[in-house]
């Protein structure tokens, strides 16, 4: 079986800095893959390399076997890959409905305007913004904008949804609500690749986790295994052996 998304030996340099180096992983159909790592590990850069915002210096990205390495973002979107941004990017002056209609119109299914409005309404209902349909995006709260960002990506009816810290900045109630929404999305057969700092949430949501540190893959596996990997603990908390070794 070919994977939905294949990332093979991906590399990106900014000047002398290796932001991402020799990174390979796959996302299977229907899978939720978590991408974690300390700040500056290169997680968002990986997203930008996959969806074509940046071109990689080396390596290959493919969706269902189709090579999309270095393809423009709008071509990648057409192939069924949607994403959200860590810093929300709403079309501030447009209504919630219009924001999501853009996502639906130009997404995988190339819908007509009328059909796109239906798809947009569906996505908006799924994230629970249906009572704000005609509100301009700029009037939403941060939590509202995060949900809009998600709805807009969903409206494209993607095969793979890439989520860049959709839980960041939300309060515990909002987080719980968002986690429920993500489970509902996954139940519809959408695969998810997500970056997240909230460990509890990502550990419970993900089927597998890839840990990134300084642009390289540090560890990969089921959440429980990754959480006990000494290399991961060291990257996050410092050297676990340090306490024992400290001279008394």
């Amino acid at each position: 079986m070919t994977a939905l998304l294949e990332v093979d030996n991906l590399g990106k340099r900014f000047g002398g800095l290796h932001a991402v180096a020799a990174l390979s992983f796959t996302v299977g159909e229907g899978e939720i893959l978590g991408l974690i790592g300390p700040n500056g590990a290169g997680k968002s850069t990986v997203f930008n390399l996959i969806n074509g915002v940046f071109s990689p210096n080396s390596g290959r990205v493919a969706i269902r076997g189709a090579d999309i390495t270095g393809a423009a973002p709008y071509r990648v979107a057409r192939l069924g890959l949607a994403r959200t941004h860590q810093i929300v990017q709403p079309f501030a002056g447009m209504t919630v409905l219009d924001n999501c209609t853009v996502g639906a119109c130009f997404g995988r299914e190339d819908l007509s305007l009328a059909r796109a409005r239906e798809a947009a309404r569906e996505a908006i209902a799924l994230v629970g913004l249906e009572n704000r349909l005609d509100a301009p995006a700029l009037e939403l709260t941060i939590a509202g904008k995060k949900r809009l960002e998600l709805a807009r990506a969903l409206a494209a009816r993607p095969a793979l949804l890439m989520l860049d810290e959709v839980l960041a900045g939300l309060n515990p109630t909002e987080v719980a609500r968002m986690v429920e929404i993500l489970r509902a999305i996954r139940a519809r057969g959408v695969s998810i690749l997500m970056i997240e700092h909230l460990m509890q949430a990502i550990m419970s949501l993900s089927d597998r986790i890839v840990v990134l540190n300084s642009g390289r893959k540090l560890s990969e596996g089921p959440p429980a295994q990754v959480a006990h990997d000494p290399a991961v603990i060291e990257a996050y908390l410092g050297d676990p052996g340090m306490v024992q070794r400290r001279p008394s």
Partner: protein, 319 residues
């Protein structure tokens, strides 16, 4: 679409323009003719400025080039008016597509500067292009008015054609805004990177909008310079008219459908008043400049933006 109020509002505006001046009322006709030209320029500029968010300071290059093509086809090649206008429109749209592919990689201030550059480059080219008369331009023989029934009747025909072009411009604004293409353009105007990530083919859409916004102004330019039976570089590529088109669009409300028309009509009235007043003659551009400053500073969404905020229901009616 016959059910949409806007269709009828445009139809009424066209009828008003067509019926208001008649017989000897040449003064009113000339004033409305200029208003129709302004509305055409502003509505088409609005496709780029208001929808896609790209400031085109050199939009007048379409008008001037259209004028040159048309006058050349008629005067030197002996074509009739209709094919000259049509081919001029198509030629300028194709030229715009070529310019667009070059300069639409730029954004913001850089794009705005490049549009001025395009206008200046074309003007410099035409000034040195002998088949088009170089810096002296092209004069048309008055005999060319004969097929239209003599100069007096020709002026009326030109007027009605310009009103028709104005009407088509308004309908074009409307259809683009209500289409998928228009939604894509609006999203580019809001946040181009986010639009691309959502799948909007941004380079193609921008180039198409830029090219489409050239077609009708080129035809209007053809009619305008045919009317004067004379075209020269300084008139055809006068950045003043470009700037006025921006003031008009911003005054009425950029990105709205009715705004450019409303702004154009008000601006033409104001201009007429300034030109005839003794104190303010030749003051029109100063006023335009001050107006632009005030709008950008205090009412960036113009008159229609103000109305829509005041009466939100109006937007459903008019957009």
């Amino acid at each position: 679409m016959l059910r949409r109020p806007f269709f009828w509002i445009i139809a009424a505006a066209i009828a008003l323009f067509a019926l208001a001046p008649h017989g000897e009322d040449v003064e009113l006709r000339e004033s409305l003719l200029l208003a129709a030209v302004y509305i055409t320029l502003a509505s088409n500029l609005n496709l780029m400025l208001g929808y896609a968010g790209y400031v085109n300071f050199g939009s007048i290059v379409f008008f001037g080039l259209g004028g040159y093509f048309c006058v050349y086809f008629m005067g030197s090649l002996g074509w009739a008016l209709a094919p000259s206008l049509l081919v001029a429109g198509i030629a300028v749209s194709v030229a715009a597509l070529v310019f667009g592919l070059g300069i639409l990689r730029l954004r913001g201030v850089h794009f705005a500067l490049a549009t001025i550059g395009v206008n200046e480059a074309v003007m410099a080219f035409v000034t040195n292009f002998e088949p088009w008369g170089g810096s002296t331009g092209i004069y048309l023989s008055p005999e060319l008015f004969q097929p239209l029934g003599g100069p007096a009747q020709a002026l009326w025909i030109i007027y009605y054609l310009l009103v028709a072009i104005m009407g088509v411009s308004l309908y074009l604004s409307y259809f683009v805004k209500r289409s998928k293409f228009g939604l894509g353009l609006l999203s580019i105007g809001q946040n181009e990177d986010a639009a691309a990530v959502l799948g909007v083919p941004t380079p193609r859409y921008k180039a198409l909008a830029y090219s489409a916004s050239a077609f009708l102004p080129a035809i209007a330019g053809g009619l305008y310079f045919f009317k004067g039976a004379f075209v020269q570089p300084a008139d055809a590529f006068d950045l003043t008219l470009s700037t006025e088109a921006i003031v008009i669009t911003m005054l009425g409300g950029s990105g709205t459908i009715v705004g450019p028309a409303l702004g154009a009509y008000l601006y033409e009235e104001l201009r007429g008043w300034l030109l005839t007043s003794e104190t303010f003659a030749n003051f029109q551009l100063v006023v335009a400049g001050v107006l632009l400053l005030l709008i950008v500073q205090f009412a960036p969404d113009g008159l229609m933006g103000f109305f829509y905020r005041r009466w939100p229901r109006l937007r459903r009616w008019l957009e």
